[in-house]
């Protein structure tokens, strides 16, 4: 049973407020902390802070591997050193929502998109989940590297747009647009299907391939992948919709991207 309680707040840009019991600990991504109570002790830990049987070298290697999944080399550990419950809040680095997922319900493992991990209970490991099928890697919309979160307790991941979680029955298949997949339990088969009809492929706007998810298991979907949003904003900015203010839009977008990059760099 999870020993922390949490509340996700906000609408389209969310933060999660975690309440830690005395001696309770939580690990957060670098720079994700929004506010916290004063009796929390913060320490920087290498990687996800979990021990390795190969000692320091093992931890360093795992931290480096973790960097490939879009996370930083170090993360922060927040421990409640007081007698009273203490709060700490983590905010998303972008226009994102937060999903709180209890790994215990999934058998201890969760696969999620690159860079999705925000925070989690102490002991949760962030590993590389390497996509072995070339076609899924190239056309699945998630690339070859995803994150595998394993351990016990609650973990928080980021997603964009409106969210939908769905339980797939054994053998039940779901077709999703590439990029809309946020997370899936490891028992779900993640494959690529050809669109089949040339006309659909060319004019359907969905490309040549569909991602197909087959149960049993649970999947989490997002309505607006960041890339899709960025492309739309860029096209609006360049075409200058809105009374010839195109250049102003473009400047605003460049400023926005620049600031986001700064934010991502400091993450």
């Amino acid at each position: 049973m999870s020993n922390i309680s949490y509340e996700i707040k906000g609408s389209d840009m969310q933060y999660v407020e975690v309440t830690l019991p005395p001696e309770g600990a939580v690990i957060g991504e670098q720079g994700a902390m929004m506010f916290m109570d004063e009796n929390l002790e913060v320490t920087a830990v290498l990687g996800d802070g979990t021990a390795s049987k190969f000692g320091f070298i093992g931890r360093l290697l795992r931290a480096l591997k973790r960097m490939f999944t879009g996370e930083s080399l170090f993360s922060s550990r927040y421990v409640n050193k007081g007698k009273e419950p203490q709060r700490v809040a983590f905010a998303t680095p972008s226009i994102s929502k937060i999903l709180g997922i209890n790994l215990d319900e999934l058998g201890g493992d969760l696969i999620c998109q690159k860079g999705a991990y925000l925070a989690g209970e102490e002991g949760i490991q962030v590993n590389i989940a390497m996509q072995k099928r070339l076609r899924v890697g190239f056309f699945g919309g998630e690339g070859f590297i995803m994150q595998k979160l394993s351990g016990k307790g609650v973990t928080f991941i980021c997603a964009n747009g409106a969210l939908r979680e769905m339980i797939l029955e054994p053998g039940q298949a779901l077709i999703v647009d590439s990029g809309c997949l946020v997370a899936l339990s490891p028992s779900v088969a993640y494959e690529i299907k050809y669109a089949g009809k040339i006309k659909t492929a060319l004019f359907g706007g969905e490309g040549l391939f569909y991602a197909s998810l087959t149960g049993p298991g649970k999947v989490w979907l997002q309505s607006l992948p960041e890339g899709k949003l960025a492309r739309h904003i860029m096209s609006v900015a360049i075409s200058g919709k809105g009374a010839g203010k195109g250049k102003l839009y473009l400047l605003a977008v460049i400023a926005f991207i620049f600031l986001s990059a700064l934010g991502a760099g400091g993450k």
Partner: protein, 365 residues
Amino acid sequence: MVTFEGLLYGPNLPLAGEACTAHFSGTTLIVNSHSLVVNTADIEMKVGGFGHDNFYLNWKDSSAKGFSLKPVGRTDIKTVIQTAPQRLKSQFSQWHDRRLTIKTVWTTIISVTVFIVFAALFITWRHDDVIGWIANQVSVKNEEAIGQSVIAQMQENGDIVMEGLAIDTIKQIGDRLTEKSRYEYKWYVLLDDDVNAFALPGGFIVINSGLIQKATHANELAAVIAHEVQHVEQRHALKRAIKSIGWAAGLIIVLGDVNAATAIIFHQLGNMYFSRDIEDEADRLGYGLLFEKNINPEGLLSFFKKLQEENKSEIPEWFSSHPNTVERISTIQNMLDNQPCLACASLVYDWKKIQEDSAIKLLKE
């Protein structure tokens, strides 16, 4: 009856599946722990899991609720494959194929990457050997074509002598030195006061008239010829062209684009400095050639020494383009001391008369 362990997914079962034991009996699958009996005809096998390395036995019960059974470990998978009834077994080929494809694809990707990395390392490490190998891919015919067109360009500029006493002498000595060569050597004198000689790919040897005037004995001429012949035999000009212009040039030359290769080599003629290693090689092999043909090899040494002792502010080109002359003189001296050629004899020519050959006189003023 061999049982295997699995995870059972289905209605009212945990999301992450529930541990179970099962076995095949005749054409049915019996899940002992959950008291389920399934006709294998209803079972459809699907490759699954994020790693595409496991499979799921899917079926629907009488109320159309979906169930799924996943063998947990390697041994359980093996058990299923071995004990499943025949009609189910035929479905396993999908799983085998998928695994085989993934394995083949990644093995290929990794081997190609490793091969490219090692090839790059090898080429860097054995640079000279690789260049030599490329140069050796050029056919003698192509080499001759390259040399021929360079000579043709020089002839257009004039001043190439192809007949006369000097040419006859060079030809005599040269033919003796290149008796059994795969190349058909051609001999030229260039009317030029610089003391110089050079070799073109395919066996074209050009001696400057200035060098004939400077030499005092036919032995010295023979030594220079032997040295230049080794440049041809060892394909030094090609190797140098490949090295300096790059691998693209190597490809052009190997493929036999004579025009491009000619342009490169002709361009280099003006500043044709071979590296010390290459000159050493030509010296050493040239010495061996003289030795083999019983021509007194002291000519090379005496010619070198003479040039070095002369006016040092005006060092002749053939000499200056050969680096580390002092060292080379001592190397040649060593070869003379260590393996003196007892059977060797000096060449007998009326050297003065050769020098007086009107064909090689520069038309001054």
